[in-house]
Amino acid sequence: MSRRSEPPRPTASAADLAFRAILAVVGGFYVVGLACLLLADVAYLATTGGAPAAPLAPLQPVWNTAHALAGVFADPNIRHAFVLTIVSCLVTTVLSMVVAVPLGYLLSRARFPGRGLVDAILDIPIVLPPLVLGISLLILFQFWPFRLVSRQIVFQVPAVILAQFTVSAAFAARIMRVGFDQIDTRQEQVALTLGCTQARAFWSVLLPQAVPSIVTAATIAWARALGEFGPLLVFAGATRMKTEVLSTTVFLELSIGNLKSAVAVSVLMVAAALAVLLIARSSGGDMSETTGFGGRRAAR
């Protein structure tokens, strides 16, 4: 029995090959650079530090890396920052999604006066310089009614979450809006004719199909919260054992000349970001569709 063979592909012309090569070189330069960026951090940790005991000498790079990361966790300040980072990012992600899903839905489906203005306001956290955003938050809490709770929020842990949320929710809302835009409204219309209220059509028909966008939005919200620095520094401060998160740890460690610790914390943050990205992609998130982040397209 003859084996089925692949049909022959048309031969690409020299011009086509040259075109693809140029694209690959230009794009590849950047991608390789990004990969080198991460590898350099790990390589720095692997090559810095004292020699291990004799039996472990061949494993010196691994020893050095583990030693640097262990050193990070030995510091109670950084342990506190690590816990606050994880907790604040989770709270921020949940709050961001609570806002992003309805806002994305309204911008995608509803036509109301001032819709363009709402859309533009949503861009503020995305386009505003981070420090300016922090100062704006600081100033906002000098005015009524915000100043009533200023003492409980500004330079306290809630400020960390609020600063992260301000930026993360805008990104999440943008992603949810694009996600809802990509789902045809006809299915909701049919659901209405079948007896649904608008809310029931939203919950039963639209939302289940928006799961990839929800996972993507939550992932991006988490990643933005993790990387938040400027507004945090201004609005929450960088007080050790209080409002310090990992991004401020990197800054604080650098400012006292402890480059090795700063790099170790950076590697830790990269690992945390990659872990969430991998979890999101394996649970149905679609990074390519709404953000260009990743490459798989979810089946619809």
Binding site: D184, R186, Q187, Q189, V190, A191, L192, T193, L194, G195, C196, T197, R200, S204, V205, P208, Q209, A299, R300
Partner: protein, 222 residues
């Protein structure tokens, strides 16, 4: 029955003006018109998916002009079918009863629709795995599940090949004869009108230009 009187619907620059039509109860009406003539706009207005600027719509003996789509007692089959892509065929058939709080009756109704539309092998499949003809039957079943007084079909056969088209016509005829539902079927193909219509209506440039009532006996043999 379907009774539309002096209906005016605006959609951007396009306007349907002063439309009046009547489809007697239990009849199969086919509304013909060229692409862009406003057939789908009219159907969407009947469904309650487009605001009506003037006139009235009576479906199954009730004035539904100001009622939301959920309370109009209609089954709607859009041109692109719009099957719920995350639901199995069984859940699509149960959907209309579930949202009306009649989940207990769903199993029996699904069995009836399965027999009527030959959906047995499809019940546990998702829409993505269905052929054009299968998807068309599922869409019909979903629309009929809550036993609507009126069935509104927007070019339901447009995506089918000739063989599937003929068999889908037979399905539509069988369904209408079995359920006695009043049907308004929108199409641009005269062939469908000749084959299916008890009442043939033509829509041209936003106005009804001809209404040709025909008795079922005059229609082609089924």
């Amino acid at each position: 029955m379907i009774a539309v009187t002096g209906l005016c619907v605006k959609s951007g620059d396009f306007e349907l003006r002063d439309l009046t039509l009547e489809v007697p109860p239990g009849r199969y009406a086919v509304l013909m018109g060229r692409t862009g003539s406003g057939k789908s706009t009219l159907l969407e207005a009947l469904c309650g998916l487009r605001p009506v600027h003037a006139g009235s719509i009576v479906l199954g003996g009730r004035d539904v002009t100001r009622l939301p789509p959920a309370h109009r007692g209609i089954g709607y089959v859009p041109q692109d079918r719009a099957l719920f892509s995350h639901m199995t065929v069984r859940r699509q058939l149960e959907f209309a009863l579930a949202v009306r709080g009649r989940a207990a009756a769903a199993a029996g109704r699904v069995a009836e629709l399965t027999d009527l539309l030959d959906l047995g092998p499809l019940l546990d499949r998702l829409p993505a795995g269905l052929s054009g003809g299968e998807a068309q039957r599922v869409t019909l079943g979903r629309a009929l599940a809550a036993e609507p007084a009126v069935l509104l079909l927007d070019e339901p056969l447009s995506a089918l090949d000739d063989e599937s088209w003929a068999s889908a016509c037979d399905v539509l005829t069988r369904v209408q004869r079995t359920t006695r539902v009043t049907v308004l079927h929108v199409t641009h193909r005269h062939e469908e009108s000749r084959r299916l219509a008890d009442v043939a209506i033509e829509l041209h440039a936003g106005r009804l230009t001809a209404t040709i009532p025909r008795s079922p006996q005059e229609a082609l043999p089924r």
